[in-house]
């Protein structure tokens, strides 16, 4: 498997937008993510339940947002990057049948006390109607092999 290039200090200037990722969250994919994360909460597979909650239909579950947010970072920074802090806020649901996107911008680049390259990234996750789940992430870049 080809290895993506790993971003380092010089590649991670503050400001430029991190490339957007997108995926079609069909009903099957929403249920796939819920099952893959062992989430049997009915809001992720039972339309009538979701409607009784005031939602339009079944919706993407929390653990899928978490992996999706990390994917925004690692697709951009490469597989030797590692998210060390993730704060997310679910403003509204992404419903089955939506194209979900994720994108971000580096807001701060610095070195920690161990000299490792650290970036803070504002990430937005949403659908055709806009933002659904903004997140703030802190990630290590180009982590030394077997150091974690």
């Amino acid at each position: 498997m080809a290895q993506a290039q790993n971003k380092t200090w010089d590649d991670a200037a503050e400001g430029p937008r991190i490339p957007r990722i997108e995926l079609d969250f069909t009903y099957s994919r929403v249920v796939w993510g819920a099952i893959a994360s062992m989430d049997l909460f009915p809001g992720h597979h039972e339309k009538e339940y979701a409607e009784r909650q005031g939602q339009e239909t079944i919706y993407v579950n929390t653990m899928v947002y978490q992996g999706w947010i990390d994917r925004v970072v690692t697709d951009w920074a490469g597989p030797a990057s590692f998210v060390i802090k993730r704060k997310m806020t679910m403003r509204r649901a992404v419903y089955a049948g939506s194209i979900m996107y994720g994108e971000g911008v580096v807001t701060r680049r610095y070195r920690d006390e161990q000299g490792r390259t650290v970036v803070d990234i504002d990430i937005d996750v949403g659908d055709a109607d806009g933002s659904c789940c903004p997140a703030k992430v802190t990630a290590l870049l180009d982590v030394a092999p077997r150091s974690l």
Partner: protein
């Protein structure tokens, strides 16, 4: 202060709708309560890591390429998005499932429905295939009554600390969960 109540054994499968019902004042007595340490029912497997990565079309070679993963992380890893999943119990077992209700359901509050509103997680090392996690929950805070689009209820902050089988801290997660009454639809 701690309680073993999150370890209650019950017959049958998980039931997501059965939250303890009570007043806000009764709920506040649970702030600071910790669950016992819970050991996951299963190890993290390559299947889990890759089936989940596939659900979000994530090609990170740490999840898929054993040679790369061994070099970089010491072995295949799983997305940190699986953190809470790999700490779950099986939803059914022949000897009766151990239902590990989230501690948020054990707090007496007026609302019987829940939805996650936000979470903040610190990660200290990646999840590795072969790891078996242990974790415990603590109720950190309960908000006064608030009304949102979904209904009226309380935000409950739960902090969960995760270890691997070697005692290394993997992560600490703070979840804010809205416990609310569903609005009637007539």
């Amino acid at each position: 202060m701690s309680t073993g109540s999150s370890q209650d054994k019950e017959e049958g499968g998980a039931n997501f709708a059965q939250a303890a019902i009570g007043t806000y004042e009764e709920g506040l007595k649970f702030v600071g309560v910790k669950s016992e340490v819970h050991v996951a029912d299963f190890d993290i497997t390559q299947f889990m890591a890759q089936f989940y990565a596939g659900s979000i079309a994530d090609a990170n070679p740490g999840y898929w390429d054993e040679d790369y993963a061994r070099e970089q992380w010491g072995g295949l890893i799983a997305s940190s998005g699986l953190l809470s999943t790999v700490s779950k119990t099986m939803p059914w077992r022949p000897d009766g499932a151990t239902v590990r209700k989230s501690i948020v359901f054990l707090v007496p509050l007026p609302g019987d429905s829940t939805i996650n509103s936000s979470s903040e997680t610190e990660f200290f090392r990646p999840l590795k295939v072969g790891d078996r996690l242990s974790s415990y929950d603590e109720i950190a805070a309960i908000s006064p009554e608030k009304t949102t689009r979904l209904g009226t209820g309380h935000f409950v902050n739960v902090v969960t600390t995760y270890h691997n089988q070697n005692g290394d801290v993997i992560a600490k997660n703070t979840n804010s969960v809205f416990r609310f009454k569903m609005a009637d639809k007539d």
